[in-house]
Symmetry: D2
Subunit: 307 residues, 4 copies
C-alpha cells in the first residue's frame, strides 16, 4: 500500500578523482552538471528529470554510495513516514534543508542491509533540461554521449534481506515487484518499486553489509544501448557485460565501471508493475538466466566486484 | 492526490460485425480471445496484462464505446470513491459481479463529457498470456500481427471539460498530465493519468457529448510501429495517419480504423509522469504540432471522424 | 552487364542562398564541409564516404540540379564508356581535371530525359570522416543533426524514358532494378543500379525534361529516420512526407525541402539487387502503394513540386 | 577486378541428426525447406533470396562444411574462371547439372586453405518466398523464429592465407575488403567480397586446414539481433557470444551453435565496400576489439571451437 514515497530522488556516490568522474558522468553518460557546493560536491541531473539534481558526486578515498534518497509526495507524508520508521526501530537522523543545495529537509535512516537511505518532500524543480516549458520538443539538442534520460534505480548488496523487505514494504509502502527465491523459500534478490517501474531499489543477499552493486540510468531504446556500448569502447571505459537482456525485469542493458570502480548500468525497456501484480519470481536454479538472460550464466565479476 | 484508482481495466466497444471485428483485433492487433458470454460479447486481452480481459466487443448497429472501466486497489477504495462520486453529483449505478465474466461488482457513472465510466476492485487474474508464472521468458511465442502489449488508454471527444477535469482530479484522484490551452486559458485537451503514464484517459473539447476518438494499445518499440504500419497495408486496413510522433506525450504512433469505423492507435514511448510534475502544456497556436509533431498540421479526419 | 560504372560520385545542386543551404546540409543533415573553390562552390561529404566530396552546392537564381556524376573503376573504362556514349549518339563534353577540386577529368553527357550526367575515374580519397585509417571505430564522434552516412541516389523527372533506359542499361551497364509499368506495358518509373543497391539513379515519366525530384542520403536505421523527422520539426524545416515506407525498394524514408526548395530524402533499408534478379515490378493501379506504402495514395505535392 | 563472381550461392553443411537440424534451421532461424533429394539432403532458403536454395544439409557422422558455392553471372564467365583456376594450379572437378536439384553444372576446386568451393552459373529462381512477383509487400507473413533474410557469408579457418588471397583476388576477382595484419605485415584474417558487402567469404589463419568457423545469415535490424538472442534462450540453444558488434566490418551480431556443433551467426548492418576502397585494416594488438568490439577481448571458444 503506497504511503507517499514517489520516486528515487538522488544518490550520492563517492569518487576517487572528481575530474575523471565528471569526464565519465558528463561526457560519456550525458548527465548535466547543475551545481557545486562548498564541500566540493558536484550535482548532476539527467535531461528528462524535472528536479534540479539526481546524482551527487563526492570526492573520497574510497568509492561507493553515501546514501540514496526518495522523494515523497508532501510534508505530511514525510512526517508520517518518519514516525513509522521510528516505530519500526530504525534510527532516524534529520538533515536540514539546504545541506544539499536546493533540497528540503531530509530524514535519513539505515536499512537492515546496511545502506543509508533518505526521504525528502521538497526539491527545487528546474524542469526538463534543454526543453521549453511550453510546447516542449521531443528531446533536447546538445546532449552528450549516452544521453541518459533519468537516474532510474540502484542495486544494493547486503544481508538481512527479510528485515529489509519488511522495512520497504510495510513501513515505506513499496511493492515487491520481482524476486529470486531458493528452494527453501529464501529470497536472495528482492526488487522494490513505488510506482510502475520494475524496480526503484533492489537488494541481493550478500554477507557484507552496505555495498553498492550499481547505479542505473534509463535510456529510451535498444539502439541507445548499442550506442552506449560503442561509446564505452571508443572511450576505453571498463565494461562489465552487455549489451544483453535481464531475465528479471526483462530490461535490455549494459554494465560498465566509472573511473573509481563504481558500476553503472544503462538500460531500456523492462516489465511494468501495478500494485495488484504478484511479484515476478525466478528460482535460484535459473539464477544465471534470471540475471543474464542470453548467456544464462553469471560471471564472477558481477557477483564480487562491489563498492 | 491518488485515491486508489490504479489503471484502465477494460473498455467495451460496439462493432457492427463480430467476425470482422475479431479478424481485426485478434489477427491484426494480436489480442487474444479469452471468453464469450451469453449476450454474445467477446472478451479479449493483450499479452502483458495480468487481468483476464481488457477489451470487450459487443455487436450493435452503431459503432462507439459503451463504457471504460478502471481498476481500483481494493473494496474500501471502491466504497469511498462511490461516496465521493455521489457527493460530486454523479448519478451512480451498481453493476453486479459477474455481469462481465470474471469481473467483480462495478460502479458505473457518467462524466459531464457524456461518457460512461466504471470502477471495479476485483477481476480474475489469469497472468501474462503465454508466459510461465515462474521464470517467465521475455515475451510469449505465437503472438499474432502487431503483438499489442496492453490496452493503454482511450481518448474521448465531448464537452464540459472543466467539470470533467474536476471529476477526474478532485473526485477520482487522477493527475492532469498534459493539456492544450487556448489564449483565454481554456483547456481544449486534457490528459489524465493515475500512474506514471502520460495518459490513462484523455478528453478533447467537442460540441457533441460522449464520442469516442480512439482506443489505444501499447507497443514496445518504434520498429513495432513500423511493423504495425506494414501490417495495416498488407491487410488493406483503413489508415488514419502515421507512423509519426505526437507533440503531446511525445509518443510514437499510428492511427487506423477497425472494420466498424472505431479508430485505433498503437504507439510506443512517450513522457512519464509523477504527481509533482506540472502538466505538460501546449498552446492552441501550436495545436498542429501538439497533435502531429512531424506534419505540424491537423488533418480534417482526425478532428471529425468519431464513433 | 556491368561496364565499370561503380557508384554515384557527386551531385551539384543549385541553391538560392549559400549560408542557409549550409545551415541545412551541415547542421541539419550532418554533412561535412570539406572545401570551397574560387567560383564560390562549396564541397560537402557524408561521413562514411571514402572520397573527398559528394555534394557540391552552387549559389544561383534558380534551384535544381546541375549534374550528377558517377565514378567508374579506371581510365580504361572511362575511355570505353566515352566511345560507347558517342556511338549511342550522346553529345559528350570533356571537363578537365581540377575543375572540381580533387576530381579528375569528367566526361559529361545529357540523357534523353534532359538531365546532365558525368563519368570520372579519379577523385581524391580522404577516407571516412572522423575515423582512424587503422582500427577504425564504429562511427565518428561529433557528427551533427541527422548524421547522414552517404549520398545515395537521386530521382529525376523527365520524359523519353525508353531511350533513357537504353542509355543506362545498354551503354552504361546499369541494371533495371525496380519499375512501375502501366497496363500498356509502358514504364512510368525506372530505377537503375550499378551495384547491390535498389537504385543509384531513378527516373519518373514527366512531360517536362530535366527536373530534379530529390537528392537522397542514406541513414542506418529506422530510429535514424525518426530522429530526422524530429529534427525537421525542431528546425522548422519544410516537410514533404514521412516517416513512412516505400513500396518500390521498400526503403524507410522521410522527405523534406532544403531552403531553396530542393527536395531531400533520408532513408534506410530497402531491397538489395544482384544482376540476375528480375526487376521488382509495380503496376500503375497500385501506384499510390508503390510510392507511399502506408498511405497507399499519392499527395499532389510529391508529383508536382520539382526543381 | 570483378571477373563475374556474383554472390555466395549455397553452402552444404554436415549435421549429425537431420530432424534436430531442421528444427534448428527452420523453426529457430526461420529458413524455409524447399526440397529434398534421394541422397537425403535437405534444401533450404532464406526468404529474401531469389534462388531456389542456399543451404543444403547433409546428415553425416561429423559436422562441418562440405563446400561453399558462388554464383557467377553466366556460362562464359564460368568457362573463363575454370580456365583461370586450372592455370593457377587448382585441381578442378566438374559436377553435372542436377546433382544439386535445380542447380546447373558446378566447377569444384580446393583453396590452399583446405576448403572446397564451387562456381555455377545457373540455378532455378523461385523468387522471394511468400511475396507476390508483382507489387510485392515489404516482407512475407508467416516467417518463423529469427526470420533470417539471406545466407550471407561463411568464415573459414585454415592455413596458406597468402596463396588463398592470390586465388580469391587474382583468379576469382574478389576484393580484399577487410583484414587483420600482424607487426610483420602478415595477414592473419582476410575478408573477401565480390560485391558491396563487407564479406562474402573470410579466412582466419589456423594451423589445421579446411575448418569451418561459422555460417552467417543476414537480419535487417539490431532489434532483430535482440529477438534472435531471446529466441536462443527460449529454445535452450547453445550461445557463443552476443549480442555485440564486430570491430571488423562493424556488423552487429550474435553467435550460437546448431545441434551438431556448427557455429551460426545472425547479424545486421556493417561496412559497405566498393572496389576502389582500400581494405579496412585492424592490427593484431587490437585483435580483441577487431573481433568483439565491446568486450575488446577474445574468448577461447571463438578461437578453438570449429567444425
Amino acid at each position: 500500500m503506497n504511503k507517499g514515497v514517489m520516486r528515487p530522488g538522488h544518490i550520492q556516490v563517492r569518487v576517487l578523482d572528481m575530474a575523471k568522474a565528471l569526464e565519465h558522468y558528463v561526457e560519456l553518460l550525458g548527465l548535466i552538471e547543475v551545481d557545486r557546493d562548498e564541500s566540493g560536491r558536484v550535482y548532476l541531473k539527467a535531461w528528462s528529470e524535472v528536479d534540479k539534481f539526481s546524482l551527487v558526486l563526492r570526492e573520497a578515498d574510497e568509492a561507493g554510495m553515501d546514501f540514496m534518497g526518495f522523494k515523497v509526495i508532501n510534508e505530511a507524508a514525510l512526517g508520517q513516514l518518519t514516525e513509522d520508521l521510528v516505530a519500526f526501530g530504525c534510527p532516524v537522523e534529520s538533515i536540514p534543508a539546504g545541506e544539499l543545495k536546493g533540497c528540503g529537509r531530509r530524514i535519513r535512516f539505515s536499512a537492515p542491509s546496511g545502506h543509508r537511505f533518505e526521504l525528502f518532500a521538497e526539491k527545487e524543480q528546474t524542469g526538463k533540461w534543454g526543453l521549453a516549458e511550453i510546447n516542449p520538443e521531443a528531446w533536447p539538442r546538445g546532449l552528450k554521449g549516452m544521453r541518459a534520460m533519468r537516474f532510474d534505480h540502484a542495486l544494493m548488496y547486503g544481508d538481512e534481506l527479510p528485515e529489509t523487505l519488511r522495512l520497504f514494504t510495510e513501513v515505506l509502502g513499496f511493492d515487491l515487484a520481482e524476486q529470486v527465491v531458493d528452494p527453501h523459500g529464501n529470497r536472495i534478490a528482492q526488487f522494490f518499486t513505488c510506482s510502475m517501474k520494475a524496480h526503484d531499489v533492489a537488494f541481493i543477499q550478500h554477507a557484507e553489509k552496505g555495498k553498492l552493486h550499481h547505479v542505473s540510468f534509463f535510456l529510451e531504446t535498444w539502439d541507445g544501448v548499442l550506442r552506449a556500448a560503442d561509446l564505452i569502447s571508443m572511450t576505453d571505459t571498463s565494461i562489465d557485460i552487455g549489451p544483453t537482456r535481464h531475465g528479471l525485469t526483462h530490461g535490455k542493458t549494459i554494465y560498465f565501471f566509472d573511473p573509481s570502480g563504481n558500476r553503472n548500468e544503462v538500460f531500456c525497456g523492462g516489465d511494468y508493475h501495478y500494485s495488484d501484480h504478484p511479484p515476478v519470481t525466478w528460482t535460484t536454479d535459473q539464477l544465471g538466466k534470471a540475471i543474464f538472460y542470453h548467456d544464462r550464466q553469471l560471471n564472477e565479476r558481477f557477483l564480487t566486484v562491489l563498492t
